[in-house]
């Protein structure tokens, strides 16, 4: 492992990905205790601008740990040194600590409590993701997920917030001109790549990148698809049986489907999706009125026809 990449300091091996998420889930069972990371670490790592400009990539690498976010994260009751075990007694810390290899699996192997999250699937689907197939080992789960703030339990009332959070992770790299290697997807390039998509910015605000860039299979939640493999058929989502129901709205469908009148009531509060949002009552009423109108016309026409025939005679 090279010490040059910006994320070297907190970089796990690829096979260790699933357990890193697992670590977060593990804590869900117990009520998360509010804790703060060790004060001696926060003295420096609490500085929001602690960081450096990486010599190889030119990117600014932050070494800041947000103590507030940490204290509500799934790792909250872990001490810093529970994961970071290298020699941190020197100030500034020796360069060697950057090569510290963090393995989520070290803490969470065969954890029964995490079985329901199917972390093996997460790991496998991640291995198939374009991030890994293109960048190999250089891409780790920490490139998207911040172990110091990870909070799986965080509830989001608004779908818009879920979208914002999720897309922020993607745009962090895909819209940053600072990130080397992503230059091809710099802002304008991102827009160019989505030029085919009508109302691209509207889509970006209301659906997750993942909704098009992962396969339908729920087990493949971490298999990020490249542009050429991603969903392009409008009607996949713009239909009554929208793909979004198994993706973005998955958790809301169950609870809200029972609500009156509306199919896809799940989005009733948040967005109108052409082809997907339908009002059953309205739809039925319109068909009924249409049929009634045609019948009336037919009857009238028939009566007229008979009347003219009679008159003709």
């Amino acid at each position: 492992m090279s010490a040059k990449t910006p994320h070297a300091i907190r970089r796990p091996r690829r096979w260790a990905i699933a357990p890193c998420v697992a670590g977060a889930f593990a804590l869900l069972a117990a009520a998360p205790a509010l804790a703060e990371p060790a004060p001696e670490c926060v003295r420096c790592h609490g500085m929001s601008t602690l960081g450096y400009q990486d010599r190889a990539s030119g990117a600014v690498v932050s070494l800041h740990v947000d103590a507030d976010a940490y204290s509500t994260s799934n790792h909250a009751d872990l001490d810093c040194v529970a994961c970071h075990k290298a020699q941190y007694g020197d100030y500034p810390h020796a360069d060697a600590v950057r090569d510290e290899d963090l393995h989520c699996l070290d803490c969470h192997t065969d954890d029964e409590r995490l079985a329901r999250f199917k972390l093996d699937e997460v790991g496998e689907s991640f291995a198939r993701s374009v991030h890994v197939t293109r960048h190999g080992d250089a891409f780790t789960c920490f490139d998207c997920h911040d172990a110091h703030a990870f909070d799986i339990a965080r509830d989001r009332d608004q779908v818009a917030d879920v979208v914002l959070d999720s897309n922020a992770i993607c745009l962090n790299c895909h819209q940053s001109t600072e990130t080397v290697g992503m230059a091809a997807l710099a802002p304008t390039a991102l827009d160019v790549a989505h030029a085919w998509l009508p109302n691209a910015s509207l889509h970006r605000r209301h659906v997750r990148c993942l909704d098009c860039h992962t396969p339908d299979d729920p087990a493949a939640s971490h298999e990020i698809l490249a542009a050429e493999d991603a969903r392009r058929a409008c009607v996949d989502c713009h239909t009554a049986d929208s793909a979004l129901l198994t993706k973005l709205y998955r958790h809301r469908v169950r609870e809200e489907r029972t609500r009156a009148g509306f199919i896809n009531a799940t989005v009733f509060n948040d967005a109108y999706i052409i082809g997907m949002t339908r009002n059953v009552a309205l739809d039925r009423a319109s068909v009924a009125a249409f049929v009634a109108a045609l019948t009336l016309i037919a009857a009238h026409a028939a009566a007229r026809w008979r009347a003219t025939r009679k008159a003709g005679r």
Binding site: C44, Y52, Q53, V60, V61, D90, P92
Partner: protein, 727 residues
């Protein structure tokens, strides 16, 4: 046909609407005629300002032969200066000369260097420079790229006349200043008033520039052996309008600068590479006194975009100071009536290759202060209530530097970490010029034998941290009298500079520091030194007990929320207090209305009250104490000042000053310093030590945190490590 229309008109007049229409049209025509012809006269009569045709002796026609001779000289000089800059690092003088010669003959170098206006003016047959009229022949409009990415075509002259460089005030929002009543100056919910320069180092705060615009002072310098020498003085020396008064029309609710005054705009002081500051002196004609300009053909032929030297012709005055050793303008004081130099510096943070790393690196002022047409941004932060052409435009270190600007050394990560709490200037301005005025007493002038005038006494000048400047929390905003607003994010309640650091000084330390100045003053003035020290070191003692009570209330209710706004960082501020004459009828918990001095009286007689008396007689000061001005702006102005309303009691009664007292400002002013940036910043231990330069206690940290910050265990470990390495 004619008959018909007359008949129609008659019919129309017969109707009521027709009559009203005719009346309205007549009123509009009469109004327009009055506005053009009558109003300017009325305006001059009311304000006492005068306008007249502006002529300049330096504007003379030259022959073709003279043109070519000047062109040759200018071209040679320009090439030589530019080539020398390139070859400056050459060690051998001979080689340097040879290289310079070669370069000066190199076609591509000439193409990039030569003054293009020589050719333009030659071809256009221009042989006399007549001010804006000449420039506007080609530049009547200009293309401007706005910060929003739009491209617009503007009228060049109007663009200049609307800029702060001409008006030096604005009647619009866009100040980072808040009144003591908690309102943002001129923001929504206020009645916008013209404001622009409240600068208390000066005895003539901005709004009084009428009383000291272009003054001739009779001086008696030692070197003249009893003869008098006329010198020039006044605010007009640095303003591009060449009229007999500041652009008074621009601060009124309507009316515009008359065309004769527009002719006075000095294009070349910013745009010429050969502007001769020796032309900048006061001249007197039948209308009054005003500032002369360089309108020579030579200066016109050297027109380019402004560079640092152009800006610094005026702006080194407020940054390095008039007497700063590298102030170029101070080397050319005037062919006649040479300008008087101000001895103490306003900010004392020079922008020069010697003092500023950015200048040395070849940066231009306009690289950071990127102009939009003739509008130039100051940045979004500031305490000093100086008008800003482009209020929303950021001028900041981060515009160029990343959020991790330290790229070298083992401590770079830690240094970058400090940016969350410290402004860059905190470490990178380690000292100001020693000329920095900290305490100026206008009320006790002393004789300056060399210049032959009485000058105010700078009882303390210092460029040292803790004396001349100090650190405060700053969120980018300031109060109406220039106090940095901000709060300690760790313990907001522990930080209250307006009741602590800015109102008290250590009497013993002051007695020691002021010893030489006090000795000098006691030669001219009789006064009780102990009482003087007491008054200076406890400025709130000038307030009645009720006043202090109100002050505490205002700070807690109005200013606390402003201090808590945004993100505060520890930022260095130049400190300033001045003892001036105040009109006590308009006193509030943060001070009373300051009165101006008449320069000539002050310098010549050394009698400060006579000087105040004279200045207050100025018609426009008299107008200030009348109802229209009260309603138009003074009530609002005083509300910002923390005073309920403007009392129109005129301070001069029967020729005597009434209710006028000398006082120090109730609180020290804190003025931003952003230039004079030094490459090597402070080291850890300069602040993180028990006797470090940063007073953590005064910054409002709780005691245990202060102890911690003064003795950082990490720092001790670092020192040990480095010792171990060196062993």
């Amino acid at each position: 046909m004619r008959v018909r229309s007359i008949r129609a008109a008659r019919r129309a007049l017969g109707t009521r609407t027709g009559r009203i229409g005719v009346a309205v049209v007549t009123a509009v025509i009469l109004g327009a005629v009055f506005y053009v012809v009558g109003y300017p006269k009325l305006f001059e009569a009311y304000t006492g300002v005068r306008n007249g045709a502006l002529t300049y002796a330096s504007s003379v026609a030259i022959s073709d032969a003279e043109f070519e001779a000047i062109a040759d000289r200018l071209t040679y000089d320009t090439r030589f200066v530019a080539a020398s800059r390139v070859t400056a690092d050459e060690k051998s003088e001979f080689t340097r000369k040879v290289k310079t010669d070669i370069l000066m003959k190199t076609p591509s170098f000439r193409r990039d260097t030569d003054l293009r206006h020589i050719e333009y003016l030659r071809d256009a047959g221009v042989r006399r420079y007549e001010g804006p009229a000449t420039c506007l022949e080609c530049h009547s409009t200009m293309t401007v790229h706005t910060p929003d990415g739009e491209t617009v075509e503007v009228d060049t002259l109007e663009d200049v006349l609307d800029s702060v460089h001409f008006t030096f005030q604005r009647t619009a929002a866009g100040f980072s200043t808040y009144g003591y009543d908690g309102r943002e100056v001129n923001a929504e919910g206020t009645r916008p008033i013209p404001v622009g320069k409240i600068d208390r180092a000066c005895g003539i705060p901005g709004s009084f520039s009428w009383t000291g615009w272009a003054e001739l002072i009779e001086t008696k310098p030692e070197s003249a052996h009893g003869k008098t020498v006329m010198r020039s003085e006044g605010c007009g020396q640095c303003h591009i309008g060449g009229g007999y008064h500041p652009a008074t029309e621009k601060m009124m609710p309507f009316g515009d600068v008359p065309d004769v005054a527009k002719d006075g705009v000095d294009c070349l002081i910013c745009h010429s590479q050969a502007y001769d500051m020796n032309y900048r002196h006061v001249i007197e004609d039948e209308v009054g006194t005003r500032w002369n300009q360089d309108r020579s053909m030579k200066a016109a032929m050297a027109v380019t975009l402004p560079d640092n030297e152009n800006c610094l012709l005026c702006h080194q005055h407020n940054m390095g100071g008039d007497t700063y050793e590298h102030n170029k303008a101070a080397e050319a004081l005037g062919y006649e009536n040479p300008r008087l130099l101000h001895a103490g510096a306003k900010r004392a943070n020079p922008f020069s290759p010697e003092a500023d790393v950015h200048y040395a690196a070849g940066l231009q002022c306009t690289d950071c202060h990127t102009p939009v047409g003739h509008k130039i941004p100051r940045g979004t932060k500031g305490t000093d209530l100086v008008a800003n052409d482009l209020p929303g435009v950021e001028v900041a270190c981060e515009n160029c530097h990343t959020t991790a600007p330290h790229t070298e050394g083992t401590q770079r990560v830690m240094l970058n970490g400090h940016i969350a709490r410290l402004a860059c200037e905190t470490c990178h301005i380690k000292e100001l010029e020693p000329l920095n005025v900290v305490l100026r007493d206008w009320t006790k002038p002393v004789w300056n034998a060399e210049e032959g005038v009485y000058t105010p006494t700078d009882i303390l000048r210092s460029g040292e941290v803790g004396q001349g400047f100090d650190f405060f929390w700053f969120n980018g905003a300031g109060t109406f009298l220039a106090n940095a607003l901000g709060t300690n994010p760790v313990s907001p309640d522990g930080y209250n500079p307006l009741m602590e650091r800015l109102v008290t000084l250590d009497p013993d330390a002051m007695r020691e520091a002021l010893k030489p100045a006090l000795e000098e003053m006691t030669k001219t003035h009789e006064f009780d030194v102990d009482a003087y020290i007491d008054e200076l070191t406890d400025t709130l003692s000038a307030l009645p007990p009720k006043g202090v009570e109100k002050r505490v209330k205002v700070i807690e209710e109005k200013l606390r929320p402003l201090m808590a706004m945004g993100e505060s960082k520890i930022t260095p501020f130049k400190l300033l207090n001045a003892r001036m004459y105040e009109h006590m009828a308009n006193e509030g918990p943060f001070g009373a209305m300051i009165l101006p001095f008449d320069y000539a009286t002050y310098y010549e007689t050394g009698n400060p009250t006579d000087a105040v008396n004279e200045a207050v007689k100025n018609p426009i000061i008299r107008r200030m104490y009348e109802f229209p001005f009260k309603a138009y702006m003074m009530d609002e102005f005083m509300a910002y000042f923390g005073v309920d309303e403007w009392k129109t009691a005129y301070p001069l009664q029967g020729g005597e000053l009434v209710d006028v007292e000398p006082h120090w400002m109730r609180q020290t002013a804190t003025l931003m310093v952003n230039h004079g940036i030094q490459r090597d910043g402070r080291q850890c231990a300069e602040c993180h030590a028990p006797d470090g330069v940063m007073d953590f206690d005064a910054l409002g940290y709780p005691p245990e945190r202060v102890a911690d910050l003064e003795r950082l265990p990490e720092l001790e470990a670092m020192v040990e490590q480095s010792l171990a390495h060196s062993r």
